[in-house]
Subunit: 322 residues, 2 copies
């Protein structure tokens, strides 16, 4: 839940004059998104999302994020389209924060994904990987192995207070990553956070992808591994191989995974689980209890990490040998 | 900020089948309203607000609240219209809670009201008082003097820890109310919580009133007194007599205040200030610090109460003697 910054009608009306969007009809804070303040915005012209970027987002990265959305939307990916201001820019300032308006995307995010949803997500992820190919800007993944290590070194001194034995276990993970993390797999633009709340559906039909604020250049198969963590585990932490099979089949219906990518999946999936465990653990240890930010339990990703560590064959993810 | 209960797309789709509202297109939790969980809901037919009633609302009161909105909307007041289900009822159940769908009202609530806004609110409040006249249901005001006394007796043992001297001061207020609170003033349906966040505007034009979940039968002039507290003080706690004058002129352009109502205003305004001070103080002392509910400072209403206590003539509110 998140509206960190309230805005008043006077400053919003002035901000809207920078756009060709008519007159303000209504705006309401949305209780979604954990990094920025988001408002549903209705004008005489249409329906939009207004985002105020809070301190966790690097201002210097905004042209990449918004430019990417524009590029993807223009290349057949259903995602929000940033609205251009009268001066042609995509970013303005509101309430002392960088702010942008993007088109509103119909659809609901599914709290209970089915294999059909997983298949559609797989296909959409592969289409995104292909559509990003000729996007001219680039951005390093700040949350890959080096970034995890920095988070870990800050969390490590108190990690055993969260769960006994965690320091030894995660240190061993890093040793494996530093030895075996692949460097030569196909790579390009990845979403890097394609969890169910970032994918909209109308029934079983995928209507769009949102929230590109972790997008970056990295290994495609790492994005695949993130989705295995995000879409294919049940509430009781069991891996649902039917969903895994559906997701991977959907992905491969658009872009075939190479043999080296398939072989790397278990390690990449360990990394992806560790990445979400670490940001949650860091928040858990550093955000004061009284804060409005909801702290999420890191331990479900510890359990997923352990699952991937024991995967011996990619068939365990539902992937055929061929 | 409030979404206390999340809902999944499966149960929402089933719930929507009880209505003639077409297919679900999108729904998002709204970070507004402090008592219930509210969702913006878009279907193939239109745009609505879905409300899940949380434990602070008495289920037995819902037919009054929703019936009142229906009655007012049918009598020329711009307010949300509860949508009838296929079975004719206004209330269903979703995620284990009573739930209703009401029409979406365009407009924004003004963080910075001007005298023009205050005048429009005055006129709308008077129109509401007149339109409620033939509403057949009734509801006692649970938050009048007796209700305040119950809240006060729970907060009193720790009230001096919030502000030294508060026990003596508030005890004296209750002595005054028990002696002088009027019982024979014109009364009927009142809104009882008409703060700026419950009034929508398009520019200077009032587009509607929302949130009738404190509505009840009580003295009309008490509703007027609540609005003086809600609309006519500045951030520095100064009473803005221009806004007071505008609000009261707006009210009287629709319904003239009787002499007895005018004379009672300072005492009623003390009561209204005390009512909001007490609910905030009660929350302040009882809600744990880690809770997601935002606790609001009671002290601004202590200062308003003191202002009203020193009002000697109703002209201080901007009301002419005639």
């Amino acid at each position: 839940m998140a509206v960190y910054t309230d805005i008043n009608e006077v400053e919003l009306a002035a901000f809207l004059q920078e756009y060709r969007l008519g007159e303000m009809m209504s705006y309401k804070g949305i209780a979604e998104g954990s990094e920025n303040s988001n408002f549903f915005l209705h004008t005489t012209v249409g329906t939009y999302i207004l985002t105020l970027y809070e301190r966790r987002v690097e201002v210097a990265d905004l042209p990449f994020f918004l430019g990417l959305m524009q590029h993807l939307a223009q290349n057949g990916i259903s995602c929000p389209l940033p609205v251009e201001r009268r001066d042609g820019r995509l970013i303005g300032e509101l309430a002392g924060r960088p702010a942008a308006i993007i088109t509103f995307l119909e659809g609901v995010w599914v709290r209970r994904p089915t294999p059909a949803h997983c298949r559609a997500v797989g296909a959409a992820l592969a289409a995104l990987h292909l559509a990003g190919a000729d996007f001219p800007l680039g951005r390093n993944n700040a949350l890959s192995v080096d970034g995890w290590k920095r988070l870990w070194l800050q969390a490590r001194p108190r990690a055993d207070t969260f769960q006994a034995g965690l320091v030894e276990e995660i240190d061993a993970e890093f040793a494996a990553f530093e030895r075996d993390w692949p460097s030569d797999l196909p790579s390009g633009i990845i979403h890097a956070d394609l969890f169910p709340d970032n994918v909209f559906f109308l029934g079983d039909r995928l209507s769009g992808l949102i929230d590109f604020y972790f997008a970056c250049n990295d290994i495609f198969a790492y994005d695949v591994a993130t989705c295995l963590n995000a879409w294919c585990f049940e509430k009781d932490d069991a891996f649902n191989v039917t969903k895994g099979q559906a997701f991977l089949a959907g992905y491969q219906s658009v872009r075939r995974l190479e043999a080296a990518e398939r072989e790397a999946l278990p390690l990449l999936a360990r990394g992806a689980a560790l990445r979400f465990m670490l940001t949650r653990l860091y928040d858990w240890l550093t955000i004061p209890d009284g804060a409005l930010v909801q702290k999420r339990d890191p331990s479900e990703f510890i359990r997923r990490l352990r699952f991937h560590r024991h995967v011996r064959a990619i068939s365990e993810y539902g992937l055929g040998a061929s």
